[in-house]
Symmetry: C2
Subunit: 249 residues, 2 copies
């Protein structure tokens, strides 16, 4: 039995999310079907992050255990062959130790949130950005975002159904910058609460449009009350960009 680390890109649009569910197609099930077609083995694909319905990934990480012997290029190419009907692609397959766990060994997760802040709706990138139909001030958003960096009780930015043991997390980075016609938010932490990045985006948008100031973000955080922060930004702007591991993983 060998353990494989997979780096996976997907368009979350057609999926109910990463996790297998009864009510529709999931990225996990698409991958498990591809593994079965390749190796005739029923596996559970373990993902680093359970992205919600409509959330995309540029670098989700997963692991699988295979009895079938194959080289890394064959595993990647065969899975991609069997994934063809889906907007899911395996960027790389790497042999790892049996101790490696996509979720529990991860040391850092990087999310990207894309906002298109212009009056006309997106055409080429429809479904891939949050369309806010007026201009936002990226610099003000970046300034205010710094209130959230560090170790905090993030109850104000946590979904009701969040299953984490504690609302206390350490946010390593929260950078907001203009990228052409878009605003990009980069969020980096060891782990996140459910909806945390989307709640950051929905709150920082209030700053970008001038309704809130940096101090309002600080107060929302201190309130430890979900109702004190801004609304949850839509799934379509969110990307799981990267999952990092210790070098010896």
């Amino acid at each position: 039995m060998t353990r494989w680390k997979l780096i996976v890109e997907y368009d979350g649009g057609p999926f109910v999310g990463w996790q297998r569910q009864a009510n529709g197609p999931s990225v996990q099930a698409a991958l498990e079907t591809a593994v079965f077609r390749f190796a005739q083995e029923e596996v559970v694909v373990q993902g680093a992050g359970r992205t919600d319905s409509g959330v995309h990934a540029l670098g989700q990480v997963a692991h699988i255990d295979l009895a079938k012997a194959a080289d890394a290029d064959t595993v990647r190419d065969a899975l991609n062959f069997h994934l063809k009907p889906y907007p899911v692609t395996v960027l790389s397959a790497t042999l790892v130790d049996a101790e490696f766990h996509a979720r529990f060994s991860a040391t850092r997760r990087v999310y990207l949130y894309r906002i298109l802040d212009r009056r006309p709706p997106p055409a080429v990138d429809a479904g891939r950005v949050w369309h806010v139909n007026y201009p936002l001030d990226a610099d003000a958003m970046h300034e205010a975002a710094q209130e959230l960096v560090g170790q905090h009780d993030f109850t104000s930015f946590r979904a009701k159904d969040c299953q984490a043991d504690s609302p206390v997390k350490t946010l390593d980075r929260l950078d907001v910058r203009r990228s052409g016609p878009e605003i990009h938010i980069d969020a980096v932490a060891w782990s996140f609460l459910h909806h945390q990045v989307r709640n950051f985006a929905g709150t920082l948008k209030l700053v970008g449009e001038g309704k809130w100031r940096r101090n309002d973000v600080a107060e929302a955080l201190a309130a430890c009350d979900r109702a004190a922060a801004g609304p949850t930004a839509p799934a379509e702007g969110l990307y799981l960009a990267e999952v990092a591991y210790d070098p010896d993983c």
Copy 2:
């Protein structure tokens, strides 16, 4: 009667092309329907470039004549409201003189061709790039592309059904550069022959993979024979990026 210049973005995927045709939905017809719903006027939308089936636009330009009086923001927003079922968006509407013609007044057209040169297929950008499943040498492609810049008989890069009077065109720029995981080709000219940019891309890809050298491109151009150049690259990588006009337009 007032003349409006429209800058239009679209995902070419679901369309038979810019031009109205009996066999499927066109961008032109989508715009004409939106104009009718807004103004109850039957107009012909004149486009600067008749993009083929599957070709995208970031900055197509079109003009329409309207009897209905409205301000520019209303024209843009109303057309976008009625375009909602389609991946077509009006970026701006501007009042212009009656002498302005989207096609005949254009002084420069800029096309972008996107190639994703990696083994795994695209997921998030499926249908928006040409997937070449091995790495290409962007620098070698750029060097070879310079053979095509200037005034030439471009018969070798012209589609059989091209209706231009002459195969002689002046290519102002043909730049090839790496952009992250992609290779971008920028092509600038007053006007292009049918399939010219896609035939450039298909030929430069031969250079990028090392099958051809710069001199082979020069020889293909000199042959004035379509069979001497490389194959036509797919529509899905091509974008009409910009159409420029004299400042007084």
